[in-house]
Amino acid sequence: MSQTQTNAAGGRLSGRLMQVYTWGIIFWLMLPIFVIIAFGFNNTKGKFNYTWQGFTLHWYRHLFDIPDLTSALLNSLSIAAIVTIVAGILGTGMGFALGRWKFRGTVLTELTLFANIAAPEITLATALLSLFITVNLARGYWTIVIAQVMFDIAYVAVTVRARMSGYDVHLEEASRDLGAGGLTTFRLITLPLLLPGIVAGCLLAFALSIDDFVITQFNAGQTLTFPLWVFGATRLGVPPQVNVMGTLIFVGGVLIAIASVLLSRRRI
């Protein structure tokens, strides 16, 4: 057998091992989720949801019983959507520019992005709060958006920038040689090449935003997001509706994953 074939054979065995390992890690990551799902069915009579008291679908029927919780969830979703779009656009612009050109502000921009990622979230949160206090800007929904966009831009920029490393400028030139204008080049060549990076960056921004706690806690004023509400409720008991919402979010995600697998199979 050639070395390549030996490699391939051994590769299959270690490949299997790594596959089992990967599924093991995925299972470990999901473990708390199973607990959360299970306690969404707990027939708890009082305020605390720690001991199993029987199975019920009651909480699924009464999911939106707590108006504050529902509005907190809606806040989280809408904020995440807005933040993803804004940070996605701003961050893509920065990441693309850094990868595409060498210009005078390169080092400063890179340093700023680097400092933004390197800075602890609590530092970013408290610094921004100091600014809001100084200029008397009332904290609420839009300060949360401002703060989260500030936090997410760097992640999107870095992700898009990463994708730019393999970007071949000559493709642009080739496209131009074939008569395509600037806009067409961008639309048909640049954007599709960047798309995986942009999507990855936006996915990251969405995940960071919807679950953000520290920055939101300091800059939310009286607006509540889902993580803030849940954190507050851990004192006097997290109602099972929270578990149900977590379950539904999770199930929604699983369905999307299954759909994407089926779709990719369909293409071939």
């Binding site: 708890t44 009579k45 009082g46 305020k47 605390f48 949801n49 720690y50 001991t51 008291q53 009464h62 019983d65 707590i66 108006p67 504050d68 919780l69 080092v107 400063l108 340093l111 100091s130 809001f132 206090i133 100084t134 008397n136 009332a138 904290r139 609420g140 806690q217 939310a220 004023g221 009286q222 509540l224 954190f231 507050g232 409720a233 851990t234 004192r235 006097l236 008991g237 109602p239 509706q241």
Partner: protein, 414 residues
């Protein structure tokens, strides 16, 4: 690594950095005017009376009230968002109440609203519920409360328990009236401890090594210790504080304390992770109702600590008269009983007790048992003898606070 662009890039970066740092220092000096002092002092005596009268003069009833509250601290109807006591208020007066469960702890709430209030802005809330303690004192020192108009609170005058009209932190209820009170005592797992805990120092028992929980709080941890060692915390000073801290540190260094809990001790106690801990009176009721077993609460023999969550009016209020009506509404015995039956903390209205007893008699099944327990419990309706063993938090002036924190925070933050 010979011609490492990194180094040349970084060097360029450093030059730029110094330039920008210089600019930054300039901006920073300008920004030095940033968080300027508040430094107001609250008015007293005739100045206070004048301020109160001039504030309330000409104020009219409005159509709504914004209420900032702690989570799950009021009665609940068929669905979790429905509060019968509030619905009845709206039905009677036509005033809509926006009930916001936004207070997770006093410190965070204070940090959230103080900037707006000090800047002369509406905080978003008319009524808030603040525990007597460090943050309450801060609100007072910064003059961020609106004095109450006593002519608008007849129910309070008539039905509130006597002890709540003479509290040291707000004598004469100038700024606040109690919402609910609670006791900081000790709780334990009856199956795991050899004999019932009676003294605060039972929490130092070596047999409980690694199984004790204490509060990670600069009020609920030091004050019970001071009570156990010296009695009334109001009579203590830095010397006693240091002695108390020493004893608390010793509890930790000898491995007895498993963890300092913020608010989630009840979970650890229910699952058996700890066998004894500091606790708040209402929590044990609620835990037992949620299926936990073998739990007991006790007021230490040396004395316990009574804290009160108070309804206050926040500065720059938009709906003062309606807020007063709302506050006073809850002092009717019938309404107070409705709330007490759900919340299980100490109501400031003693006349609610016979009403709860009556409801207990009329109820059936497990509901009956629960209501009977509430009606007869000294943890919901303490007697005069019980009150004599309860002390309040040490009120701390601004300068005392720094010393207090320096002494006690390292206990639970090492």
């Amino acid at each position: 690594m010979a011609t490492d662009p990194t180094i040349s890039n970084l060097r360029l970066g450093r030059r730029d950095l110094f330039r920008y740092a210089g600019m930054g220092a300039g901006i920073a000096t300008l920004a030095a005017c940033g968080v300027s002092g508040e430094g107001k002092t609250q008015p007293t005596g005739t100045a206070l009376k004048k301020q109160t009268t001039s504030f309330w003069d000409g104020k009219k009833k409005t159509g709504e009230v914004n209420w900032a509250q702690w989570p799950l601290y009021i009665d609940v109807g068929k669905s979790k968002g429905d509060h019968p006591s509030i619905d009845q208020f709206t039905a009677k007066t036509g005033i809509k109440v926006h009930y916001n469960e936004v207070i997770q702890d006093d410190d965070t709430f204070f940090a959230k609203v103080q900037p707006s209030l000090s800047a002369g802005q509406y905080s978003g809330y008319d009524v808030a519920v603040i525990t007597n303690g460090i943050d309450f004192t801060r609100f007072l020192e910064l003059d961020l409360f609106v004095p109450l108009e006593h002519s608008l609170m007849p129910n309070f005058e008539k039905y509130a328990g006597a002890t709540y009209k003479t509290a040291a932190y707000d004598p004469g209820n100038v700024y606040s009236v109690p919402w609910q009170s609670g006791i900081t005592g000790i709780a334990y797992n009856t199956k795991k401890v050899q004999k019932p805990l009676t003294s605060f120092f039972d929490l130092w028992d070596p047999a409980l090594k690694g199984k004790v929980g204490m509060f990670a709080d600069n009020e609920d941890l030091p004050n019970p210790m001071l009570v156990a060692m010296f009695g009334d915390p109001a009579k203590t000073g830095p010397t006693q504080w240091k002695a108390a801290a020493k004893k608390l540190n010793q509890q930790r260094t000898s491995g007895i304390v498993r963890k300092y809990y913020q608010q989630d001790y009840i979970n650890a106690l229910s699952t058996g992770d700890v066998w004894a801990c500091q606790a708040w009176s209402g929590d044990i009721f609620q835990a037992l109702e949620s299926g936990a077993t073998d739990l007991a609460f006790a007021i230490p023999s040396e004395g316990g600590v009574l804290w009160t969550d108070n309804m206050v009016l926040l500065k720059n209020i938009k709906n003062p008269v309606s807020s007063m009506m709302l506050i006073d509404w809850f002092y009717q015995p019938k309404i107070a009983a409705e709330v007490a039956e759900y919340v299980n903390y100490i109501t400031p209205v003693p006349a609610a007790k016979p009403i709860v007893a009556r409801d207990a008699a009329a109820a059936s099944g497990s509901n009956k048992k629960t209501l009977q327990q509430i009606a007869t419990s000294p943890l919901v309706f303490p007697t005069a003898a019980d009150y004599s063993k309860l002390y309040r938090y040490r009120t701390l002036t601004n300068s005392e606070l720094t010393t207090w924190n320096e002494i006690f925070e390292p206990v639970y933050q090492s």
